[in-house]
Symmetry: C2
Subunit: 349 residues, 2 copies
């Protein structure tokens, strides 16, 4: 036995979840989340005996279940009853998400995830590549357990788009002249796509009509883009202990994100040239200096505005559907995000 499987890996107690205050948002869907944990652990048995311990190892160190929460809220039926279809669909999304995490950790050469060794570090990159593939396969196998093809179709298309976004980001690494348009396209693909499909499937499997399903998918998409903008800003302004990672890792690896793009726009030509040289040489300025510059020149304030703009576009997508049960819940998430998530950006106002 490589690891002990079991349900001891509950996500709700995780420090970062507490920091983000997600308990408030996850509370109404707690029965769903517990059922999802149980379902996912039960799925371990669906894998070949040779790799069950590995799958258990990944599950023990998996995430915050943000996408399942969105899916449950989007399919909310008014009385909080737990639907098997929503549980299964959220497990599909989480297995895809797990697969991308396992592969991302190879690409980022990460050694730790949620305070435990990454699969790549512990079992080697070979196993990590193959295990990510197996997790993704099982996600699609589960999707194919629905009697209709729509879940497979949406999830496989979304995953292709996520990968395309990550490849595009890899190609842009070290390119300090990337524009806002390219940045938004990348985060739309790599992050917003799984948020979008989570909301879409929730509403679809919750039995809602096409117009609402489309609206809720747009809500998820904008929220996903806002989430990534937040994350990219937090890489400069976050509190390392609270967000649980080292600041400045994006720019150190040549990833030029929104606040950097705005900073570059604000710099005078000589300062801009010298910054570009630093990034291209893989030796960017000290992070705290960079963050100070971003505050002073208004780059973080502009990023915050774009963040709020995306949250608002998400809310606007739901206009006209206020009579439907999910809308109240989704606006609670949106409101929560608007009020709480920009916290680390407060310094730039």
């Amino acid at each position: 036995m490589l690891v002990t499987s079991g349900a001891e890996g509950r996500q709700l107690e995780e420090p970062r979840v507490r920091y983000l205050g997600l308990e408030m948002i996850s509370e109404p869907v707690k029965p769903h989340l517990l059922k999802l944990e149980e379902f996912m652990w039960h799925q371990v048995e669906a894998f070949e005996p040779e790799i069950r311990d590995l799958v258990g190892y990944c599950l023990k160190n998996s995430g915050k279940r943000i996408r399942p929460i969105l899916l449950f809220y989007s399919g909310w039926n008014g009385d909080g009853r737990v639907s098997d279809d929503l549980i299964k669909a959220s497990a599909v999304i989480e297995f895809v998400h797990l697969a991308t995490l396992v592969h991302d950790d190879i690409l980022d050469r990460a050694t730790l995830r949620h305070n435990d060794s990454t699969v790549a570090k512990r079992f080697g990159p070979e196993v990590a590549v193959l295990l990510g593939d197996a997790l993704f396969s099982q996600a699609l196998k589960l999707a194919a357990d629905f009697p209709f093809v729509e879940v497979c179709r949406e999830v496989s298309r979304a995953t292709r788009r996520v990968c395309a976004g990550e490849i595009a980001q890899t190609f842009e690494r070290g390119n300090a002249e990337i524009g806002i348009h390219d940045y938004l396209r990348i985060i739309d693909l790599k992050t917003a796509e799984l948020f979008r499909v989570s909301c879409f499937l929730g509403a679809r499997l919750g039995g809602y009509h096409d117009a609402f399903t489309k609206a809720v998918a747009a809500f998820g998409r904008y929220l996903g883009m806002a989430y990534q903008i937040y994350d990219d800003c937090a890489d400069f302004t976050g509190n390392e202990d609270r967000i649980g990672k080292t600041l400045g890792t994006d720019i150190a690896s040549g990833k030029v994100t929104l606040p950097v793009i705005y900073l570059l726009q604000a710099l005078d030509p000589p300062a801009r040239s010298s910054f570009l040289e630093e990034v291209q040489a893989g030796d960017p300025n000290d992070v705290s200096n960079l963050t100070r510059d971003m505050v002073e020149c208004g780059a973080l304030e502009k990023a915050r505005e774009l963040f709020i703009e995306h949250v608002t576009m998400g809310e606007d997508a739901l206009a006209g559907f206020h009579d439907l049960a999910p809308v109240g819940k989704l606006l609670e998430i949106s409101d929560f995000v608007r009020r709480r998530i920009p916290e680390p950006l407060a310094g730039c106002r």
Copy 2:
């Protein structure tokens, strides 16, 4: 533009295909194979613009289309008419196969595939991981274009099993005490599974009944195992120029395959211990010496017998269905394999 896409990468002219004599087998399904090429190149447009050139690059360097040939033969309708469903299903299988090749080349640190740089070598392992994922996603997206879930279900399950087999093989690397049972389990998963599902889908989409579909799946499985046994023997006995790769790479990387297992069984305890030490130290005997030992002790002859046994089990699975159009064609493949493929083993008789 990274590469030029186009249909110039036709596989039928490839040297290894000529060596294997696959033209004879591919001749009756040539219209299907040409349609498949066209269909796959057309699929490039289904990917996000950011990664189309990469997909084209993979297509240009892809394989022998053995699995599509099996699929076309399994769904053979008697008059050679090309069915769109069979083309689409074979493209699903080939995209999965392409994805596994792209990932395998990272794991094997391979730099060449079909005389061109591997994706991992040319674009880096990061891009190779993500591109493999995107190809696999698109395979499942195509599978979900069928109006029923069976294609998705079979293909995703098969892919999970392929990955499990490859992970098991990775864990066994350097273990010279692996038994025949474990070896057969690994090749059943990592190789035979895609052969099996190709035959299954061919018969299913060709409109054949359950009993025959099951039989033809068993045929594919045994043929796949025989194919892998052949490949593992050819790693010792092949002609480097003709099979297009360096001999002895399996054992050099600690992969203990069938002829080695039989060799170990035949060695006396001191010779066995010294061989085990060499393998564990990653420094196996010179390949030509090893091959000579395998011939002398009968290890290659035993491997050949197990190869023939699997071909025969495949043929036996089709007994009772000789009135159906695909059976004659499938037995032609089987006969071809039996007569031609063991050629490099001739030395051991």
